[in-house]
């Protein structure tokens, strides 16, 4: 992990994943038990439901040094809220506008439905997001501009 050396050529973006206990967490676990590799700069925080993520947490994560935040949404499999997808999408939207306000690239937030056996999709999401963030470049810790 190269959080400290973001200016280096080989920039390894750090990614925070918000996942959910009953749906996306097992999917992410399965990626590991299937030995599907994705960057080690990906870390996960689990919540009960992706509709409970606060946009300001996302902003906090970026401001404090994560280069991207991925929301592993429950999608239609959510055990709590039938409109979970819509709600989560709204949260992602709000987070994106918050980032924009602060001068960050809104692309630093991404959302995807990860089901409890979506190991492969998760690993793919991570690799793609990682690559995309490499292009965007490191987020300036403490509120620097992304240059947009």
């Amino acid at each position: 992990m190269t959080v400290g050396n973001k200016e280096n050529e080989e920039f390894a973006p750090s990614i925070l994943v918000f996942s959910t206990d009953s749906i996306s967490d097992p999917g992410i676990d399965l990626a590991g038990s299937s030995h599907l590799a994705y960057p080690s700069t990906v870390s996960v925080i689990s919540l009960p439901c992706s509709s409970g993520i606060k946009p300001k947490w996302i902003l906090h994560a970026i401001e404090k040094g994560f280069d991207g935040v991925f929301i592993a949404a429950d999608g239609t499999d959510c055990p709590f809220l039938p409109d979970c997808t819509t709600r989560t999408a709204k949260i992602a939207d709000t987070a994106q506008s918050l980032l924009k306000e602060k001068g960050y690239d809104p692309q630093r937030v991404k959302m995807g439905a990860i089901c409890s056996v979506c190991a492969e999709p998760f690993a793919n999401h991570m690799r793609n997001f990682f690559n995309a963030l490499q292009k965007i470049g490191p987020a300036k810790k403490g509120g620097g501009k992304d240059g947009i």
Binding site: S22, P26, S33, S34, T76, D77, C115, S116, V117, A119
Partner: protein
């Protein structure tokens, strides 16, 4: 050992009954013959008509069952005998050796990777792929513990050496356990119709003729090949046919019943295929589309609007071409009643459900009666759907007839309800 209820079968019917009873405060023993609970549902891709991911909604149920303080789960075990004993029953259970210490195994699969034996069939992938002689049944298995298939094991000890937890234990022997229970719930589920019994469809002979359970595995997120490939040459299928009523509504194979779920699972798979292979054509050959449950008709309509072809006509025979493609012969009933021969590169047989009549043999002294079609007989379907010919023994799920998942859950609720009422009334009578 004493329990309130013995539930035979750890599929969704058994799990639901067990959870209901556990919640109401009864001690439940759930016995499952496979190494994991979950039944057939956990192996499915998604479920109709909501397209929920099957394992997303069934894994929590499995975990709830396995971790419920009032439920004891015994996997890889079979109930050998149930006999009346006072106001309850005495049951003998055979715990088959997994040759793995369940409490030590961490589910890491190192043994699986070390095992040199490639077994050609994998029952949890419906033989689409092979597995090792030591294996974890499937990724979401509960308990997530390896099991050694001793019939195929060469006793080389590779797994033993690879296991970091020293969990491999070849000294295990079958163990017979006797328990006393007050009530029994039979939730032994169904068997898939063996498509070989319709030789005109060439299942087992033509490589690109598969059954719908195999297709569900190909579509599942944990699928073996990671895409929908046809078995003969690993090409992505472009033109897929579904043959409905394979082994159902068919007196020539001795099953005049409709299997109740095949129309809908075929429609579901058709939708999933359109998602997985956007360029593929999917055709369903059917007799009547039985989309009768809540939201099913709408789902069927949606599938038609997505471009899936529905042709009324029972496929009479299938022939194989040299390139592995298949020719289906049928009468296109609604369009002139002409005999047609159509070529497809993959054929899915929508196999029906068959009963599991073997269960009757474990009941001694009293007879667990079967109905005309060898399902467990409901002695009072109108008012007590879960009641069987033996007082205190109840039936849940597809053990008494074909059912979709919601109906199975209802029947499991009915069984747990009636078992509760039975135990409470007998307790009061005492």
């Amino acid at each position: 050992m004493e329990y309130d209820v013995l539930v035979i079968g750890g599929g969704i019917a058994g799990m639901e009954s067990a959870i209901n009873l556990g919640e109401a405060g009864y001690k439940v023993l759930l016995v499952e013959k496979e190494p994991s609970i979950g039944g057939k549902m956990i192996l499915l891709s998604k479920v109709f008509p909501t397209l929920d991911c099957a394992s997303c909604i069934s894994t929590p149920k499995m975990a709830e069952t396995a971790h419920h303080p009032n439920i004891t789960t015994m996997t890889y075990s079979e109930v050998m005998e149930v006999k009346r004993n006072g106001s309850g029953f005495n049951a003998k259970i055979l715990k088959k050796p997994k040759y793995v210490n369940e409490s030590a195994c961490t589910g890491c699969q190192d043994c699986e990777r070390a095992c040199p034996v490639n077994v050609k069939y994998d029952e949890f992938n419906f033989d689409l792929v092979g597995r090792k002689a030591v294996f974890i049944p499937f990724p979401q298995a509960i308990p997530k513990v390896a099991v050694i298939d001793i019939d195929n094991c060469i006793l080389c000890g590779a797994c033993e050496r690879a296991c970091p937890a020293s969990a491999i234990d070849f000294t295990q022997v079958p163990e017979e356990i006797e328990v006393n229970v007050r009530s029994v719930i039979v939730a032994t589920g169904f068997k898939l119709f063996p498509a070989e019994r319709k030789p005109q469809y060439g299942f087992g002979k033509f490589k690109n003729v598969i059954n719908a359970m195999q297709m569900d595995r190909l579509l599942a997120p944990t699928r073996p090949f990671n895409t929908v490939l046809r078995p003969s040459d690993g090409k992505e299928a472009e033109n897929i046919a579904y043959v409905l009523c394979t082994g159902s509504r068919d007196r020539t194979v001795g099953n005049p019943l409709c299997s109740q779920i095949c129309c809908m699972y075929s429609i579901k798979q058709a939708q999933l295929i359109l998602g997985a292979l956007p360029l593929a054509d999917v055709t369903l050959y059917y007799m009547d589309i039985r989309a009768f449950g809540k939201g099913y008709e709408e789902f069927y309509k949606q599938t038609r609007d997505m471009g899936v072809q529905f042709i009324k006509g029972r496929v009479a025979k299938i022939e194989e071409r040299e390139n592995g493609n298949l020719i289906l012969r049928y009468e296109d009933i609604e369009n002139g009643g002409r005999v047609q021969e159509t070529e497809h590169d993959l054929v899915v047989l929508s196999v029906g459900l068959l009963p599991t009549p073997e269960i009757t043999s474990i009941f001694k002294e009293e007879k667990l009666e079967l109905d005309d079609y060898y399902y467990v007989k409901q002695v009072d379907e109108d008012l007590s759907p879960a009641r069987t010919s033996i007082e205190g023994v109840f039936v849940a799920g597809t053990a008494y007839g074909p059912k979709d998942i919601p109906d199975t859950i209802l029947s499991a609720g009915a069984a747990s309800s009636e078992a509760t009422a039975y135990m409470e009334t007998t307790r009061r009578q005492k």
